[in-house]
Amino acid sequence: SSHEYKLNFKKSKEMCLSYIQDAMLQKQWKKAAEFLTFYIESLEKDFSTEYMSPSEMIWRIGTEILCHHSHSSMREFNFFTEQMKSLGVKRYLKVCLEHTFHLLCNGLIDEAYQNLSLSESWRFGEQTIIHDKEMKLIKAYRGLLDYYNWSKQKNILLEHGQDGFEDLSVEQEMHGCFRKAALNLREIITVPGVWDLFVKCYVDLLEFYGDHNEARQVLNEYAYNSKFPANPNAHVYLYQFLKRHGESKKSLISVLKILHDVVPSHELMIDFNIMLQKSKKRKRRRLGLEVIFAVLDYAGWKENVKAWSCLARQVKQIVISEKHLDWIKQEWNSRKDWWPAFHFSRYSAKRNWQENESLSYEKALVAGILLGKDCKYFRYVSHQGCKAQVKRFRRLKKFVNKHNPVYLRISG
């Protein structure tokens, strides 16, 4: 009966698919390709209502095989993708994009550009939302390639410019590229999403032509629009832009403050701390201490000498001046139950001493002040340091011994 036939057909289809999968996972590309030729028959009677239709499956599997098969060539790949484009109309744009990526990976930039512009002119029935999105992506990537051409020509011009030779046609072409790229890039940036690559290119273009206001606006929008997903890179770009243009410290600090709130463990926090430490305002120095403590909370920073030296320097400053010890106390309060085990165990003292002497020096200083001269970490490191006749460790020991009352005040 037809039901049985359907059932059998489905079964053999699934079996074939699992054979292909097995072969692919064991890197037997030839075998997989052979099985795929059988699987193509499943297109004939496509009863499935599953998430992934056989035609999509064939596209994906075929691409994978062609990427790895030893005998495949670019020509074959192009031929296969053209077939796939006609196979599934709904997927046309996706296939195009994939094709472009493949071309780009193989360094065929001109072909990729052609492919993109070709697919841009593609129309099919009513535009759905998904198509709209995909079309925007395609345009954006074309914009990216335009940007690539533009920067290439810019480099040529700059080189030639040094020779005092000007080429009008190249310059004109470059401006043409700029216009096309700017148009397409601007479009995608307005859609909420993570567009780091596009934003960077767009800002670069604008900066070259001196349109700083537009660039700033774009970056601000990208960083602060709540519709966009929280993206730390957006803040970084804004910060770098402002820094490039010599903006005031205040605006830089405000950008980094927000970045600190979003990602307390960001690399820029070291710069931020240094900037804040230098500041004359009390409030900012207080913030600086907060920032560096927060950075060292994270496991990734555990053995970072720079971060520890920043903290050590600031703590030392505060201790010497004997002002604002309450800042340390406040920061320490929320950490005193787990920092000793996390940072200042005897095991880590041993390891730090063996692996990185200057790290152990900075950490010992902090430990000595926060936990007193009897803490394991400080005792081990200072003992080893004195034994090894390193001067600064002797000084360190003296310093901590002298300021031991501070520890009592902090922990009290």
């Binding site: 699992s18 996972l25 064991q26 890197k27 990976c105 730390p232 909370d297 994270y298 496991a299």
Partner: protein, 783 residues
């Protein structure tokens, strides 16, 4: 521009043709888990249901009837005892007639007891008939029904219907409706766990890498024993097979309640401490190294424990603390940051931070799922880059909680939905913090895909890959690749034993600062051998044992661990797999074909054969042999627990009959004598033949010709049977014809008698029919 996929991954070649058993098989017999056919409808109904396209149909009636048969005491206990007078289990009719001689087979003593006396007091008999149900007839009816199951038009015997109607309300110990509900509920539970069992999530196998860089002896932590309730910590590596055995009982003393999680007394080591006996099946073993010491967390359904395995080699693992939960725990993870800190989740939706020193801290208690409604009570929790921030997961996504202020400070890390490009019906199966590879990254595994997430860029996955495994991967293991090499992720499924190796490259920080390359997959994923794949390399078995072996080897996987070994230029990845059948931790070793991302220049160097020759190495073959021997030794002998079936005599005999006669009869005396004699001689009694009983006098047949059966029977009685047969076979043709004629005449006469006796009792009719049959029988036999 860098594609999300691409780049050459490292190519790993399997060292052996299949997995190799590492440990001797679990000697205690493994009870195979429930298979779908055990609880699903078979036969006609199923086909009908399938045609109607309504999923799986649970064979509820079968299960309920199994329950009645297997636990009759629970089902009918006291009511049965009350009523057993009124049930008659004998074979005969209960019909009482005036002539007692007609009741041919005497009723069983049981009935004799039930009916006060068999004296022909008709009123008593009538009473007995009225209030006694003949179960035999009912059973026959049921059997007949069974035989006619295929028949489309089944008629319930009216009597059966009457009986069930009458007894439905009072026969069952537990009200039938309630019992049925319970059975059905359990059946549904079993079925869902058969479809997807999330209790072993995380895997019950852990590898503790060697402490020193030079040392090559790590530790393998795995469950063993009859119920997978022994925690074994086996130092392994170069020195395989050093294994201590000892048992530690885990006491069940409870201290005051702490919400639904209770601190318990420690198991204390006794004897050799490499093995601990726990009082629950081990579901998960988690391990992490902090400050050079390994902390091993062990989760069973209602208990979680933590052990410390200190850095020194040969040091004994020390149990630290045990907690008991009132709801099954679903997750236990060990902090990679702080010593003695763990995260525990229970199925009631509670998340705890468990510190050995400070105790338990409840971070959240929410039976509802986070982002949308999902019925699964499964929860998971793991650590993040910040030692005070925990990630909490349910089937709908991940959230990060600050343990210092769990109510206020949290943010969403992953949500099943549009942002991550999830499919419909996609659910989180296993989240994992991969701090060892990159301190702020998490791996989120769903039944369809693998996502890599960064804490700093929440909700938008950095990497997504569709793994296309047949079952949701419950086990994952990450081997970080240092110096810009790819991280290797192993994914394993439970029921289908799939094992997949994929590689990805994390964010790389260039020295120039600022510019970073994104996460990307490296090379195509690879499939590794499953446990079942070694079946073909095992010594050949007889079909029956082959079948058993296959069943055992294809038991669901229970854990996964891996260890990277460097030996000069050659690198190998040891992959350990544990099956639910017990200790079959297996090893598959893969020497790296190209340690650097360059194409395969070193393939020739690999001493182990590449995939081209799928034959196990001699060493592996030897291991197979050893394993098989151990298996047949361990599981071949019949289990000791099963005793021969015994019968209660009480039901069969009355007390009177069981009573010893006051004076031993002559027969007894004789038997005793013979026994003594035999014992004295040291011989044995070959056949216990009592002196032949006095032969009953051959019946004096009434006048008229005796029928052959009677002759034959008489001959048999009189030990003269052989002669009779000879006589019979030596009949000549004429005699036979004569006999035939004789017989016809006799039959005619018999028919007359027949009709007469038919009105008398049916039992006689039956006999005469029988005699006729046996009468005909010898004829075709004779030559």
């Amino acid at each position: 521009f860098v594609p999300r996929r691409g780049g050459m991954g490292e190519s790993w070649e399997p060292a052996d043709a299949a997995t190799v058993p590492l440990l001797p098989p679990n000697a205690s017999c493994w009870v195979p888990s429930v298979a779908p056919q055990d609880i699903l409808y078979g036969g006609v109904l199923r086909r009908k249901l399938q045609a109607g396209k309504c999923g799986a149909a649970l064979d509820f009636t079968k299960q309920l009837s199994h329950f009645f048969v297997d636990h009759p005491e629970d089902a009918f206990g006291s009511v049965g005892r009350l009523l057993h007078q009124n049930f008659y289990l004998g074979n005969s009719k209960l019909k009482v007639s005036v002539c007692p001689a007609v009741i041919m087979p005497s009723p069983t003593p049981h009935l004799a007891a039930a009916i006060p006396s068999l004296c022909p007091l008709s009123s008593l008999q009538r009473q007995a008939r009225d209030c006694t149900i003949r179960m035999t007839a009912l059973r026959e009816g049921i059997n007949r029904l069974e035989a006619r199951r295929g028949c489309s038009r089944r008629h319930l015997v009216p009597r059966l219907r009457w009986f069930s109607h009458l007894s439905r309300d009072w026969l069952f110990e537990v009200p039938l409706g309630l019992l049925a509900d319970c059975v059905h509920e359990d059946l549904l539970l079993q079925w869902t766990s058969l479809l997807f069992d999330d209790s072993p999530t995380g895997g019950a196998l852990a590898w503790l890498p060697p402490k020193d860089v030079g040392a090559r002896t790590g530790c393998l932590v795995y469950p063993g024993g009859q119920a997978m309730n022994h925690l074994c910590i086996l130092p392994c590596g170069v020195s395989l097979g050093r294994e201590g055995r000892g048992h530690v009982a885990l006491p069940l003393a409870a201290t005051p309640d702490f919400q639904d999680v209770v601190l318990e007394e420690l198991p204390c080591a006794r004897g050799s401490p490499a093995q601990f006996e726990l009082n629950g099946r081990i579901r998960q073993v988690a391990a992490a190294r902090v400050d050079g010491e390994d902390f091993v967390g062990v989760r069973s359904d209602y208990h979680c424990g933590v052990w410390r395995v200190s850095g020194r080699t040969g040091a004994t693992p020390t149990p630290l603390q045990v907690i008991r939960t009132s709801v099954p725990a679903s997750c236990l993870t060990v902090s990679p940051h702080l010593p003695g800190e763990l995260a525990v989740c229970t199925q009631s939706g509670a998340v705890y931070l468990w510190n050995i020193e400070t105790g338990l801290q409840r971070l959240r208690h929410d039976p509802q799922t986070m982002f949308f409604r999902d019925h699964s009570p499964w929860r998971w929790s793991d650590f993040t880059a910040h030692p005070r921030v925990l990630s909490c997961a349910d089937r709908t996504g991940l959230q990060c909680l600050d343990t210092r202020a769990p109510e206020r400070c949290h943010f969403d890390l992953f949500k099943v939905g549009e942002e991550s490009g999830c499919q419909q019906g996609e659910r989180v199966v296993l989240p994992m913090y991969v701090g060892r590879a990159y301190s702020s990254q998490h791996l989120v595994i769903t039944q369809f895909s693998v996502y890599v997430l960064d804490e700093r860029l929440p909700l938008v996955p950095v990497l997504k890959w569709v793994h296309m495994m047949k079952a949701p991967p419950l086990f994952a293991h990450l081997t970080p690749g240092d110096r810009g090499r790819s991280h290797k992720v192993l994914l394993g499924t439970s029921r289908t034993q799939e094992l997949l190796l994929l590689q990805y490259r994390g964010e790389k920080r260039d020295s120039g600062g600022g510019s970073r390359s994104a996460c990307q997959l490296a090379g195509p994923p690879q499939k590794l051998h499953s446990i079942a794949s070694c079946l073909q390399h095992l010594p050949t078995q007889v079909p029956h044992q082959h079948c058993l072996l296959q069943q055992r080897l294809s038991a669901p996987a229970a854990g996964l661990a891996a260890a990277l070994q460097e030996d000069g230029l050659r690198e190998s990845l040891l992959v350990f797999q544990l099956s639910e059948a017990g200790d079959e931790a297996k090893r598959s070793q893969e020497p790296c074909a190209s340690p650097q991302p360059s194409p395969t220049p070193q393939e020739a160097k690999c001493p182990q054969e590449p995939i081209a020759s799928p034959q196990p190495s001699p060493a592996a073959a030897l291991r197979y042999c050893h394993w098989m021997n151990a298996l047949s030794k361990g599981c071949g002998e019949p289990p000791q627990r099963t005793r021969p079936p015994t019968f209660g005599q009480k039901r069969l005999f009355t007390r009177k009959e069981l009573e010893e006669p006051s004076a031993p009869s002559a027969l007894h005396e004789q038997a005793r004598r013979r026994l003594r004699q035999a014992m004295r001689d040291g011989g044995c009694i070959q056949h216990w033949d009592p002196p032949p009983p006095a032969l009953p006098q051959p019946l004096e047949l009434a006048a008229g010709d005796p029928d052959p059966l009677s002759i034959r029977l008489t001959a048999a009685w009189g030990w003269d049977w052989e002669r009779w047969w000879e006589e019979r076979t030596s009949f000549n043709m004429a005699q036979r014809q004569q006999a035939l004629r004789e017989r016809r005449r006799r039959q005619k006469r018999a028919r007359g008698r027949h009709s007469l006796s038919a009105s008398f009792t049916s039992s006689i009719t039956y006999q005469s029919e029988l005699s006729e049959l046996s009468d005909n029988a010898p004829l075709p036999l004779s030559p």
